[in-house]
């Protein structure tokens, strides 16, 4: 136990290591292998940690991790990154069971080779990103023009299709099956407008989905019409709103370009992290709160099947770093720029009562009508479990919002919220919108330890 006190600040906790796992099974396999008995030749120097793990075969697997990336390598055949061996190695290291290598020559050759190869790759990528020549720029401009033309044609076609749909009436929409929606979505994909395509597909899922589906379908159809209109009349819109329209239609912004522009430096508290897996892609949302400026930011990152998206920022940490916000009517999405120091535990974020939080969503939606929800911190609220649906209510007063159900493991997360509260007021971060509140993280009373609700 005395080893705990002497722990160096840059060493991670086991939680941080486990958060890197691409899925539950690697998480458990990693935890199972994190015993010194399985390992030999372990060591660390600088940001590198390495060791050999005895497997079922004859040759042990050589695993190495660079905690600065973080990046991982292993000689095992697993396609998962990090694999269970890399996880186990880092767990050992987190537990203080990997000693530093003897000064200088302690690092084995295979580790050095891996580190060098990785550094070379990184430098190569950076050069590739920066070295755009004048000729390339002209070609890129022409490509952008061609795409803008296609998207505009797509939006025009969408408008025509929507008009046809409304002329005939939505009453038949659920009977037509997915045919019309799928066909229209495919046309939008051809028109290089993925944002329009995915909205069309969501419309298709709404038709005949039970309850008051005609009302919901009309809402979303009208918003899609508004987006197509906005897309066709971009020049007439104020700059930020035009940027919002462009990003919702599916135009992307280059991160490096954004970071080259103005950035916001603050101590950013990691409010929540949530991964959603769709098809072969995992999307990670990380919400940050600027302790000095009071701004909330959303980082989006993606990982291919079996890989955990990066960065893996630990909920509750505070990072002194620069963010570049995507231009938008209500800027929220941002890119993480350079950090200025090692992350330290953050504070409990300040929050507002339920009514004030709804006002924030209202103001946001006035600027960006396509917003379904806005990130808010509710302070001094009590979760109210209910068979028909949960609520989150002000501890003092009678205001409440319904809790949005759904999503994998949402039930377990809500019970965790109730357990953390124990009927007492808590601080909760979540997304608040017209459908209700979706909690992501809770802080109990004066306790500064955040409790993730969605993992």
């Amino acid at each position: 136990m005395d080893g705990m006190d002497g722990q160096r600040t840059e060493r991670w906790t086991a939680d941080q290591v486990l958060a890197l796992a691409p899925d539950t099974s690697s998480r458990e396999a990693g935890a199972g292998l994190a015993a010194a008995a399985h390992w030999s030749g372990t060591g660390s120097s600088g940001t590198a940690v390495w060791g050999s793990c005895a497997g079922s075969g004859g040759t042990p697997y050589q695993a190495v991790a660079d905690t600065a990336g973080p990046a991982f390598g292993c000689s095992c055949p697993s396609r998962k990154v990090p694999c269970k061996h890399a996880l186990a190695l880092l767990l050992l290291w987190a537990g203080g069971e990997v000693g530093p290598a003897a000064h200088g020559g302690g690092r084995p050759d295979w580790v050095t080779e891996w580190l060098d190869a990785r550094r070379a790759r990184e430098e190569g990528t950076e050069r590739g990103e920066r070295g755009t020549s004048g000729g390339d720029r002209e070609a890129a401009r022409r490509r952008a023009e061609r795409r803008a033309g296609r998207v505009a044609a797509g939006a025009t076609e969408l408008e025509r299709r929507l008009a046809d749909l409304l002329r005939g009436g939505l009453a038949g929409a659920d009977r037509e099956g997915y045919g019309w929606w799928e066909e229209t979505a495919a046309r939008m994909v051809d028109a290089q407008a993925p944002g329009l395509a995915s909205r069309v597909r969501e419309l298709g899922a709404l038709a005949g989905s039970g309850g008051d589906w005609p009302s919901r379908l009309l809402e979303e159809t009208a918003l899609l019409h508004l987006l197509a209109r906005g897309c066709l009349r971009q020049e007439a819109l104020p700059g930020p709103l035009a940027a919002t329209v462009r990003s919702r239609v599916g135009f992307t912004v280059d991160s490096a370009e954004l970071l080259a522009g103005p950035t916001v430096r603050d101590r950013w508290l990691v409010l929540a992290r949530h991964d959603t897996a769709e098809d072969r892609l995992t999307t990670r949302r990380t919400w940050l709160y600027g302790e000095a400026g009071g701004r909330t930011a959303l980082l989006l990152s993606f990982g291919a099947a079996g890989r955990a998206p990066e960065p893996a920022l630990q909920v509750g940490l505070g990072l002194d770093a620069e963010l570049a916000f995507h231009p938008a009517a209500r800027p929220l999405r941002a890119v993480l720029g350079p950090g200025h120091s090692a992350p330290l535990p953050g504070r409990v974020p300040p929050g507002v009562p339920v009514a004030a939080a709804l006002d924030r969503y209202a103001r946001a939606v006035a600027g960006d009508p396509w917003l379904d929800a806005w990130p808010v911190v509710l302070a001094s609220v009590v979760p109210i479990p209910g068979g028909a649906g949960w609520q989150v209510a002000d501890a003092d007063g009678s205001d409440a919002v319904p809790v949005v159900a759904g999503g994998a493991g949402a039930g377990a997360g809500l019970w965790r919220l109730a357990a953390v509260s124990g009927g007492h007021p808590v601080t909760v971060f979540g997304e608040l919108g017209h459908q209700g509140f979706r909690p992501f993280t809770a802080w109990a009373g004066t306790d500064t330890e955040p409790v993730p609700l969605t993992v």
């Binding site: 015993a35 929507l162 919108g433």
Partner: protein
């Protein structure tokens, strides 16, 4: 635009072709209305708030232990892997019971955010319930009341559900109105605190209880059994239910000072006597099972294949106080009595009955005598009765010592039951004997899965401080001609898991300190 939303939806459903207007006008109006509706979302009226959870005075778990619990619970929810070969990784689900017991003993409170997973674990595994619910504490019960899936927690008699046994009114109310499990739990707690009061409670409505309930309640008198229970038990010998009568008789025979024990002693003395001319014990088994014997719990009908007289004889002798024999055989010690020759073929019956009597009466000196010294390697393994049961009466160090010597002489194949009754963690000589025996089994060319039961026990029960003893065996040995093909790697894996589990347990327990 004064059209209502409902009108817009109506038009959209039927189509502008029938309702008039253009689709563009309809969509424009709807888009404006949606933005207005969304920006104007109001708060709802709060429903009934849950009561606040009672304060839990226990200190919160240390950080490392909290993470450990989270991992142990996560492994459980993954379902664990079955199969005879479990790989080299420790089986975390098997460590959860030990972790929970230790955390309870240390008086920690469960972290609130892990309560749902803890309650789910207790729901799935009844063996975890007492410790898991104790750890969950008042907030766990508060939470369980809100979720129908966790209702079991309210019935399991966890502390907090059962009222303070010092409050006679609450005790009376629960006893009269509670669910069966709540009443059993109440009786057990009261019995541990005040045996006489528990007995009074039981007597109060005894005749009205259902037969299977009477049986369970009677069973709870084992705890703190004394002669003060005798009048009640004597009454129960006349119970309507045969099982209740049998249990009452068994409890009375465990009280050597009871009248039933004295009646049995008188019967036993007519059956067993010293025959001075032949220089051996003569046995005269009962010729009938009369009504008085049946009332004292002797079962008249033997199981198939068993002779009536030997069946009755066994029941009479195992219910008689063991002190009877010292007196009957001229003050001889148990060892001396057991060494006496027995006439005809009665020795096995007589010794088996003495074993059952020793277990029932908790008589360590007789158990020790009946077990004898651990048999030498050359002799066949034929201890009388059930050695595991006799061992369970001996003091823990003596038990471990005996089993260690047994294993050193005879290996592991017959040791599983005996190991299972040894106190955890195993005393040092026992751990050493088990590791040595496993090493010998490996060298003899056995496969490790023949020993998976003992391996699993060793992982859970060996003293974690002895991990180093097994560590050298975790290396993969070179294959030689006399080992089974591939067995070396499997053995190494099994030992790796043993060492890994022991080290993990050491860490786990240290985190809870």
């Amino acid at each position: 635009m004064t059209t209502t939303w409902a009108e817009l939806v109506g038009t959209a459903l039927l189509g502008t072709g029938r309702r008039g207007g253009t689709p563009e006008e309809l969509l424009d109006a709807a888009a404006l209305a949606v933005a207005r509706r969304r920006a104007g979302v109001r708060t709802a009226a709060a429903g009934a708030r849950p009561a606040t959870a009672p304060h839990d005075p226990r200190p919160p778990l240390p950080e490392a232990a909290r993470r450990r619990l989270s991992l142990l619970l996560a492994d459980r929810s993954a379902g664990g892997g079955g199969g005879s070969r479990r790989g080299a990784a420790p089986n975390l689900a098997e460590l959860l019971p030990q972790w929970l017991a230790e955390a309870d003993a240390r008086g920690w409170a469960a972290p609130p955010e892990l309560l749902p997973a803890l309650l789910d674990a207790a729901r799935a595994r009844t063996d975890l319930r007492p410790d898991a619910l104790a750890l969950a504490g008042p907030r766990g019960l508060w939470l369980a009341e809100l979720n129908a899936d966790w209702r079991f927690a309210l019935r399991a008699g966890a502390p907090g559900v059962v009222p303070d046994t010092g409050d006679p009114g609450a005790v009376r109310t629960l006893w009269e109105e509670g669910l069966f499990a709540e009443r059993v739990a109440l009786l057990a707690r009261l019995r541990a605190r005040d045996p006489v009061q528990a007995l009074e409670l039981l007597r109060s409505g005894w005749a009205a209880e259902r037969a299977e309930d009477r049986l369970m309640f009677l069973d709870s008198l084992r705890e703190g059994l004394s002669l003060q229970d005798e009048p009640f038990l004597e009454q129960a010998l006349a119970d309507r239910s045969r099982n209740v009568r049998a249990t009452a008789a068994e409890l009375l025979s465990a009280l050597p000072g009871s009248a039933l024990a004295a009646r049995m002693a008188a019967r036993a003395r007519t059956c067993v006597a010293w025959d001075p001319t032949a220089g051996r014990i003569g046995v005269e088994a009962p010729y009938e099972c009369d009504a008085a014997m049946e009332r004292d719990g002797v079962v008249a009908i033997p199981p198939a294949g068993r002779g009536e007289r030997s069946w009755w004889f066994g029941q009479v002798v195992d219910a008689a106080p063991l002190a009877t024999w010292r007196e009957r055989f001229g003050g001889r010690t148990p060892e001396e009595v057991i060494a006496l020759p027995v006439a005809d073929d009665w020795q096995a019956d007589l010794h088996a009955a003495w074993c059952r009597a020793a277990v029932r009466q908790g008589d360590a000196s007789w158990a020790r005598a009946l077990l004898g010294p651990a048999p030498a390697p050359s002799t066949a393994v034929s201890p009388v009765g059930d050695p595991a049961k006799l061992l369970s009466i001996l003091p823990a160090p003596e038990r471990a010592e005996w089993v260690a010597r047994f294993i050193a002489a005879h290996g592991l194949s017959e040791a599983f039951q005996m190991l299972a009754v040894c106190a955890v963690p195993w005393a040092e000589p026992l751990g050493a004997a088990v590791v040595d025996a496993l090493d010998i089994a490996r060298d003899a060319g056995s496969y490790p899965w023949s020993f998976s039961g003992v391996m699993g026990l060793a992982e859970r029960c060996m003293d974690p401080a002895e991990a180093d003893r097994a560590a050298p065996l975790a290396a993969v040995p070179a294959e030689s001609a006399d080992t089974s093909p591939g067995a070396g790697a499997y053995w190494a894996e099994a030992f790796q898991r043993l060492v890994g589990t022991l080290r993990l347990r050491a860490t786990m327990l240290a985190e809870l300190a």
